[in-house]
Structure formats: structure tokens, C-alpha cells
């Protein structure tokens, strides 16, 4: 039963990811007074890509072709860990938050390799930048997450979230730092403005896109899907860690229903916030990203220290 629900939830995760992307795009267009594509546009794109014949360079090795599958499945695995609508899932015991970060690293590793596989300048540029940014973002992310895990004294995500709920409404100074830290990291990791611009066509400013320039057809579809999934993952993380209310603690039908509604609402709101932010800010120069990320890192560290000194002080 539990396993079934876990798998279903993962499926739901995967299914909803493009929808979130669509909604985000919709909001942005609205905010920029443009006519918005339909919410289902991402699904259409994916479907179309899967039916196209993929073109692969003669230069490419098996690694280039394997990468999309690896990236996608790694992201899906990450999705199994994060509680979407219900806590204490069996899957989330098999891998805790550190492992989840590991999954992201796994995906990134191969993506970067694929970028280098073609031996073009853009690919190398993309993977170099991606690895740089991620290597700055990962510690910041872990800092923020550790604040939570030390609060809940467990690295098991669903356990931690359950712990936050059961404590009820507690104002934690550490979360005041951790939340923005996680937000900043999420923006950086998912390649949104102001760090990266997913919609750009100017190669020299690309980061994430530059790596996947050579992909087409179903491979591109998988990678796109994976990155939408990643965006959703971060969204869910933020939503469920800091505002866990509404998430189902029992596997009864209505609880799950409420949970679904709750998460949908939270994500919708979050997306709006993100859209507003993306509309307000401009993309920043590559070498200012470090300052941005070190700020995130600082926030995370402050969060952790304030947890240790203010909350768990002896």
C-alpha cells in the first residue's frame, strides 16, 4: 500500500512538472503583458520532441546518448525522496536529503560530460560554468537543508517535515535565514533569472542551455523534462519544508486529497512569486553570480549558527 502510494506520488510528480513550468511561463507572460501560451504547451512540446528523429553528431560517444536517460532517472529518483502530498513514505527512507543532493550532482556530472563530449567551444563553456556555479550552490543548499535536519534531528525528509508539522506553529529565527538561502539556491540551480536565462538564444550568455545545445529529439525531451522536474522539486522542497501545513500524514483518501490541493496551491503561489522576481530582475553578469551564491551560503550558515546558538543552546 505504502509503496503503491509512493510510486503514485512519484508518477504525479513527474506528470505535474511540465504543468508547473507552463503555469510559470503563463504568469510571466501575463506580467509582461504578452499573450500567454496555454498551460499544456510544455506537454505538447515534449510529445512533439519524442516523435522527432534525433540527430547526433558523429563526434558523439555512447556517453552522449546515455546521458539523457541517466539525468532523467536520477531526477526521478530525487522526486521519489521528496514528500509531495504525504509524509512518511517508504521511498524516502531509502534515501535521505543528502542522497537527494547526490542525485542532482549525479545528473549534473553527466550533463557536463555530455557538454564536453562534442568538443565544441559552447559545450565546454556550458559545462565549465555549470560546474562552477553548482559547486558554489551545493554547499549553500546543504547549509540550508542542514538547518532543517538539525532542527528535526533527522536527515530523512519526510521525517523532518513531519517533525515540523507536529511542532505546530513555531517561529524559528533559523528558518528566517534558511528560507531565502534555499530560494536563492533554487533559482541558481534551476537556471532561472537572474543567474541564467532559460529562454535565451545568445550562446555566450548561456549556462545550462549551452551544455545541451547539441541535443535534439527525444534526448532533448528527456533533458527538458528533467529540468522541469528539478524546478518542481525545489518548489516542493521550499513549500513543504517551510510551510508543511496541509500535507497528508495518513494515507486516507481525503487526507491525500487535501494534500494534493495544498501543494498545488503552494506551488501556484510560489510560481507567481518567482515570475514576479524574474520580471523585476535582469540577468546578472556571470562573475557576479559568485557574490550572489556566497550571499546564499552566508544566509545558510547564519541559519545554522542561529539554530545552534539561539534554539538548541544549552
Amino acid at each position: 500500500m505504502n509503496w503503491l502510494i509512493a510510486i503514485l506520488q512519484t508518477a504525479l510528480f513527474v506528470a505535474m512538472a511540465p504543468l508547473l513550468a507552463g503555469w510559470l511561463k503563463w504568469c510571466k507572460c501575463r506580467l509582461q503583458n504578452r499573450k500567454a501560451p496555454s498551460l499544456l504547451q510544455p506537454y505538447r512540446d515534449l510529445l512533439k520532441l519524442t516523435h522527432k528523429q534525433p540527430v547526433v553528431s558523429k563526434q558523439a560517444s555512447w556517453l552522449f546518448i546515455a546521458t539523457p536517460y541517466i539525468v532523467f532517472s536520477a531526477t526521478v529518483l530525487a522526486a521519489t525522496v521528496v514528500p509531495l502530498i504525504a509524509v512518511d513514505l517508504p521511498t524516502s527512507a531509502s534515501a535521505d536529503v543528502i542522497v537527494m543532493v547526490g542525485f542532482f550532482a549525479f545528473a549534473r556530472f553527466f550533463l557536463a560530460l555530455a557538454g564536453l563530449d562534442m568538443g565544441t567551444a559552447f559545450g565546454g563553456m556550458g559545462s565549465s560554468r555549470e560546474m562552477t556555479i553548482s559547486s558554489l550552490a551545493e554547499p549553500a543548499m546543504l547549509m540550508a537543508v542542514f538547518t532543517l535536519t538539525m532542527t528535526a534531528s533527522t536527515t530523512n525528509l519526510s521525517g523532518a517535515i513531519a517533525h515540523v508539522i507536529n511542532e505546530g506553529m513555531v517561529l524559528r529565527p533559523s528558518f528566517v535565514f534558511a528560507l531565502p538561502a534555499l530560494l536563492l539556491v533554487a533559482i541558481a540551480e534551476t537556471g532561472r533569472i537572474p543567474v541564467d536565462n532559460p529562454a535565451t538564444h545568445l550562446e555566450l550568455t548561456m549556462i545550462h542551455e549551452a551544455m545541451i545545445l547539441e541535443y535534439s529529439g527525444r534526448h532533448l525531451a528527456l533533458i527538458e523534462w528533467a529540468s522541469q522536474l528539478k524546478l518542481m522539486l525545489y518548489g516542493v522542497l521550499i513549500a513543504n519544508i517551510f510551510f508543511p501545513w496541509g500535507i497528508a500524514e495518513t494515507f486516507s483518501a481525503e487526507a491525500l486529497g487535501y494534500g494534493l490541493l495544498a501543494i498545488t496551491g503552494k506551488l501556484a503561489l510560489l510560481a507567481i512569486v518567482l515570475a514576479i522576481a524574474e520580471t523585476l530582475f535582469a540577468k546578472m553578469r556571470l562573475f557576479r553570480v559568485q557574490e550572489y551564491l556566497s550571499f546564499a551560503y552566508l544566509l545558510g550558515l547564519l541559519g545554522m549558527l542561529s539554530h545552534i546558538i539561539l534554539e538548541a543552546a544549552r
Binding site: 529518483l77 531509502s94 568538443g119 565544441t120
Partner: protein, 708 residues
Amino acid sequence: MILLSAYCAVLLSFASGLLALMMNQRQIMLAMSQYSINKFFSGNVKCRNWVNKSLEEQHYPAFLRQAVFVLLGFSGLFAVIAGLAVLISNSVITDQIALGLPWLPWHIRFDALSGFFFLIIGIAVCAVSLYGPGYVSSYKEKEHPFASLGLFTGLFVAGMLLVLLADDAFMFMIAWELMSVASYFLVAFQHENPANRRAAFLYLLMAEVGALSIILGFGVLASFSDGFTFDALRESKLSVTWASIAFVLALLGFGMKAGIVPVHIWLPEAHPAAPSHISALMSGVMLKVALYGLIRFSFDLLGDIHWQWGVALLALGTLSALGGILYAMMQPNLKRLLAYSSVENIGIIFMVLGLAMIFMANGHPQLAALGFLAALLHAFNHALFKNLLFLGAGILQHQTHELNIDMMGGLIKKMPQTSLLFLVGCMSISSLPLFNGFVSEWLAFQTALQVDVLENGVLRSLIPVAAAALALTSALAAACFVKVFGLIFLGQSRSENSENAHETGHKGMLAGPALLAGLCFFIGIFPNAIIQLINTVSGQLLGQTLPNDSALDWLWLAPVSPEQASYSAPLVLIGALIAAGICYWYLRRNPLTVIRKAETWDCGFGGLTPRMQYTSSAFTMPLRRIFARVWIVDEQINKDMQGAMNLDVAAVHYKLQIEDHSWPLFYHPIARGVNKLAKQVGRIQTGNIRTYLSYSFATLLLLLWVIS
């Protein structure tokens, strides 16, 4: 029985060394074999023919190399057996050998800790001896006599094993120095290159200084006890001050060998200089022996730990981890890069060991056991994947005659097996899930997250910072090894050599790394297999095992408690396979969408050339800008101008020099000081006999005045 196999391991390694000496004594071998055949199997014609054939002029060298490495392999095998046996039987065996000082025979002690490191060495040696014959076959007997290589390899291994067996200070030092000296000769093996000579000298010098401070450390202990046996030293009761002095001395000595910043500088010089399978042993195993020394000294001999030591280890470890990986990032030379990354990994191990000490000193032995576990596991893993990578580097050097990663590229098609093995190594070392590096790092994080139990506020805020540094380190490591694999194996060939490279013909050269790679993956999936063993070590040494070994079944890894944290690699693997399988099946079902091969899109300009690719320095440029302060960067861009008014650029020359800060900070001043002092002292020798007479005159008067 267990001890016997341990002895066998030592003796066999000696034997392999001695056998190598017979390289130039074919006649003697011939005579001996004839004699033995006539004596024992006089009837057996087949074996006689076989021997005669193998001892013929042209076959002899190859045959001898084979034999030497076979012996070495058996020694490794015996080491593994002995280690496993002692770990499983959880026993402590002591013995004495009638060598050494008249009133102090060599004391032998073989316990779980030694056994664990025996295991590490054994595995590494097995892999190397599979790999060796192929690798050394490329050396010319004239310039690089196999005799010395084989001899010192044998002595090196024997020295390391003896260090683990030693149970008194005297034998320990002898074995320790045997290890250092033998490896010195191996570093100096290709001595026609001045850089190697310099590296060897630096290495031996620092080994000597380290050994001296270790002796002094033992001396401090010994002066509080009677005798130099470890039992006597264990009994010695030291005041906190003296204990700390001893610890600092030991830390300096062993740290120098382990290569923690800032006493690491010999390491990136020496490891590239040695032949690759030796660098593999040095980097993968010898550093672990130094770690063993530190653990033995602090946890076993000194006994009661003080938290300040833990903090010292934590700080040094963090420094080494970050410094190591940042310097590694900048190296274009593959083996230098790997050596620096060893510094990083040793740093991680020291960090976790420091955590263990802190928990120990604050009365949380269980958590101490956890940290200890993480440290030893990472040591084990590092031995595996660092060996793997060095052996891989050896293959690359062997096939492409290059070590500069900017000169390679596109090898994944030319050397598929090697590239696969190397990929596994890279994934393990950048601690990706499903591989062994990740497990130990996960445990390290788990240890760091237990900080809440501590009273001391400083520690409580210090440890998380260290954890963050650890996170940064691992992320940087991933970036670094993406660079390594990407530039070496992917893209287009950057040089003639890599263009013409092909897979190595020697099966052994692939078998050795394959063994290690397999172990990397296996430990990544079933870490508990090895964790069980380490548990006995910590049980013997700290008197405390993991909080709940109950949760240690084959499937789950839950070091503290299932509620707090759990990781099940097998399930993850299954999940990954399912997910990948589904989408693969789904997407490949449509026959119309078979992959079409085409040229890479070159933006409409002419063809893509290899020179358009990102180079190592280009890849790391953003990080070089971000962490600019870490290195002494000397970057020069010169343009050749031409044409009218000399305005248009003909060629651009780019030169990048990355220097280590610790040279100008520590080492140059010391060298200058010694030379200056020597210069001053030289003035005594004026050459004028009357001055000399007045010396003796003055001495006489002075002494007379003193005693009167």
C-alpha cells in the same frame, strides 16, 4: 595461522624483491633450476622443457618480471587473507622475533586495526601486481634496470606491512624508514630527469624530518615509561601538556607522510615522478599507513583523547581538503592532479577523525565510533579509487606517452575499456551516489550532524562550518573530475599521440583496474560488507561499536538510527534501473525515430578544429577568478603584432603558472636560514694556522677558567 599468513605476505614481498635482483644473473638461475629439476622431478620432461624454454635468453626477462609480480601478487593475497581473518575472528595476536636490540626483540602485534590496513594494502598490491608486468615491459633494461625497480618495490611493500605489525617503537621506526627509503629509490627511479631528482630529494628530506619528529614523539612517551614496547608506552601516564606535546610531534611526523597542508609539498612532486603503479601504491596505500600511525599513536598509545587535538585535526583536515582540491583543479599534469586530490581526501579523513576525537573526548563513544567508521571507510575507498585512477593514468601514459591532459582528448572511442574504468574512478572520487566515495562522505555528514549532543558552544558552531567546507570540497571535486574525464576522453584529440592511441594490449593492465573498479561499485552498493569489519576495529580500539549494528543488514545503512537517517543503495539502484528502463523502452519503441548521425553544427564557419575546444585552464578559469587568492597565479598573455602600423595580431601566446603558497611561506625561508647559518659557520675555517692555534689556546684557557 592468521599470523602465519601475515608473515607469508611480508616474506613473499621480500622474496619478490630478491628475485628481481636475479635479473642479470640468468646463468645462476639456469644452474639452480637445472639442479633442482634433476634433484626433484628428474622424470618430468615437460616441466624441464618448460623451465629451459622460460630461461632462454630472449624469454628470460619477461619470465622473470612475470615471476616477480606473481610473488608480489601472492603476498597481496596473503595480506588480504590475514586481514580478513583477523577482522572476522576479532582476535589480537602477539609474537616476538629475535631481531633488533639484545634487550628488545621485535615485538609483533596483529589486531583488528592492523588487519584492516592489511586488507587495504593487500587489495592494492594484488591490483598492482596484475597491472605491473604490462606496465614495466615498456622500460629499457639499459636505462631503467628492472632489478632495482623490483627490489625496491618488494622492500616498499614489506616495509608497509611491517609497520602494521610492529608493536615496539624501535621496530616501528625501522619498518617506517624502510618504507620511506624504498619509496625514495622508487621515486628516483627515472633519475635522468632533474625534476625527478629534486622531487626525490625533497621527499626523502621531508620523510626524514617526519621520522625524526615521530621518534621524538615516541621518546616523550618512553621517558614516562619503562621500555619501548607499545605495551609499556600504553601504560605511560602523561600530564596533559606532555601528552599534547607528544601528539603534536606525532601529528607533524605522520601528517608529513600523509601529506596534510602545509607539509604536503613533497607529495605533488614525488608521486608523478615515480612509475605509475608505484605512485598508485604511494598515493593509495602509503598515505594510509601514515594514517594508521596516527590512529595507533593517538587512539591506542596515548589513550585518553583531548578535544583540542580533535579541533586541530579538524582544522588541518579542512585546510587540506579545500587546499588540495583547489590546487588539484589547476594542474594540467594528470598525476600531479591526482596527487593533490590525495591531499584533499586525506584532509577529509583527518576531518572526520577529528570529529571522532571530539566526540570521544566529550564522552560520546558511540558517535566517536561513527566518525571513526567514516574515517576508516573513506580511507578504504580512497585507496580503491585512487589506485584505480593512478593505474588508469599509467595506461594513458603508456599508450599516449602524455600526462598533460591538454594533450589528450577523444580517447573514449580509442580506449573504451580504459575509459569505462576511469569513469568509474572519477564517479567514485567525486562521491556520486551508487559509488563507494559517496557512502563514506554520507557517513561523514551524518557524523557532523550529530553536533547537537555537544555542550561546548564553540565546537557546536565550528563543526557545521567544517561540514559546509566538506560540501564545498566534494562539489569542487566533482567539477575537477568532470574536467579530467571530459578533457581526456571526450571531445576531439588534441595531439598527434592521442590521435594514434589505442587500447592497451596487456590484459593484466586492464584486469588490475577492473578489480578495483568492481570493488568501488560493490562497496558503493553493499557498504555494510566492509562496515561490519570496521566495526570490529572500533570495537577493539574504542571499546565501542556503532550505535545500532542491528540496523546493519545487507539492505539498509542506518548508522545512528533508522529514524534519523538511512540509505539503501540497492533500492536506489533498482529504482534508477526501473526509471531508466521505462523511458528507454517507451522512447525507443517507435522505429521511425532511429538516431541520425551528422556532423557537429559548426555555426556555418569552416570545420571545427580541436583547438576550438575548452582547455584545462579555460575550464577552470571561472573558479580561478573566484578563488584567486588561493594560488600564486602568474598569467601572461603576449601578442605578436604585425602588418602596417603593427596593429593586427599575428599570434597570441598564453602562459599560466600556478604556484603553491606554502613554498614562499615556509620552505624558502628555512632553506635560506640553513644556508646563511652554514655560511656564518664557514668563517671558522679561515685557513690561517695561527687562528687555529688561537682557537685551541682560547678553548684551553676557557675550560681552565670554567673548572677552577
